[in-house]
Amino acid sequence: MRHLTEIRWHGRGGQGAKTAALLLADVAFGIGKHVQGFPEYGPERMGAPVTAYDRISDSEIRVHSNIYEPDFVAVVDDTLLHSVDVTAGLKKDGAILINTEMKKEEILPLLKGFEGAVFIIDARRVCMETLGKYFPNMPMLAALVRISRVMERDVFFREMESSLKHKFAKKPEVLEGNMQALYKAFEAVELVSRPAGRVSSMPSKDRGYRYTASLQSGQLARAAGMHA
């Protein structure tokens, strides 16, 4: 069975959605996966909506189109929820991750009745407590790895540490803050809505890393290692 995980990132120009997508491709490559990480360029300007994509697979990836039915969606900026249809095509057995300071009650009505799992993280708080500056892509990356389980937690941290050591070879002082942001983000993800129970026609086996709607709601939370 070929495992293919498809992820779509929504952000605004300058926030690092593209960087997060490329970083995820990079760490997944580091553990031996076939990967694609690519941006979709609209108008090239700060603040404009940006989309980026990841494909992570155990076998060669040849398709070169955008992703229309992602397994996971990551929204780096919650103001996009008003203008971009972020759940478009998102699989019902998939999940969405939103960076927001909003409460569950405020966020859910903005998702146009999306039936899958909804996770939130306050990446700003994580950033301010660890980096002292707002760079949401690091916490978002960790949170996405947690909910998508494209790799084991320890493997992810180990890969990120080695990658950041290399990247910041001339600025070793920033390594610690970035690693703390990743650790903290991993814990700060919150499950705020889960799929509405069993869908018996949906196979639960061989579905790769996806959440399947056939999991009972409690199992879903346990699968993600957290309680809603």
Partner: protein, 394 residues
Amino acid sequence: MAVRKSLSGNEAVAYAMKQINPDVMPAFPITPSTELPQFVSSYIANGEMDTEFIPVESEHSAMSAAIGAEAAGARTMTATSSAGLALMWEMLYVAASNRLPIALALVNRALSGPLNINCEHSDSMGARDSGWIQIYAEDNQEAYDNFIQAYRIAEHKDVMLPIMICQDGFIISHGVSNIELLEDETVKAFVGAYHPKHYLLNADEPMAVGPYAVSCYGMEAKRAQAQGMMHAKQVILDVAEEFEKISGRKYGFYEGYQLEDAEYAIVAIGSACGTTKDAVDELRKAGKRVGLLKVRVFRPFPGKELADALKGCKAIAVMDRCESFSANGGPLAAELSAALFQAKSQAEVIKIVYGLNGRDYTVTEAKQLFADLEEIAANGRQETEEYRYIGLRE
């Protein structure tokens, strides 16, 4: 030992440039090829290359400087996209007619208008008659491999023509994926040193480059240039064979994917081929005899070989990622149709325009196209269906 990495198309080609380390690179930045001179400049600044980088004030100047450097006897490269290639136009012909084997890394992007930075083949296809060899890539691996082979083809004594190594803007140039790189020493040994037979800086052989030719000589010069392009066919195959020995990767004029017993074929260039392969696999599982012909070499145009590869097909869709405004389909469709006619093919051919200004091309569309071909083979083609668009919003 090959090195496994994950790189974008631009990173991969820049890496090939570093490994080849040519003598001169004049360049002017333009999206989406800007990273190429950027990466090369970093390599030079870090002491990893000793190429003479010449920042120029326009692409016309970039090609002019490349012509000067190459004529002087230096191995020369440049990079550009879209309007940058258009601004080089006059000088592209000068480079080719003076038989200067410059390598140009082209990152395909739409020409205006509307102003757009995304992938289209209108830039290189517009330059198809300028006398440059053109080789296209499906992915980052092929863009890298093609660039490694470029100078061996262009500088061959029977060819002596400039070469354009093309990759799809953004889709490949900015998409990161797995790649296998060759060792530096392997690349250097394969490409070899450049020893031009005639060059301006040779004090023992004073010569003129690019003088006026009166009518009684000009036609012969063009005919000799055409001969170089004809010779390029064999050289491309020979170089590919040698490349396979160092890389294990096989190249030719084209790649046939599930084509041998195919009744319905899509013909395409570039990244669309990967997407089409996934569609072919899905349909093959359902028992459909479908296949892909990926055109790698467009100049010289291997018409006979392409027609031959398609000889078992009942219906063929030829896809152009550019509109040539001929009211009769794009350039690949036009040239391949002519080749199929010469080969006395009885196949139905439809001419498809797709992917303009970065419009996405999907597996679903490829599958629909195959279904259309099956329908056409069974029930005949309507006149209006011969030349059409896919992916267009109605």
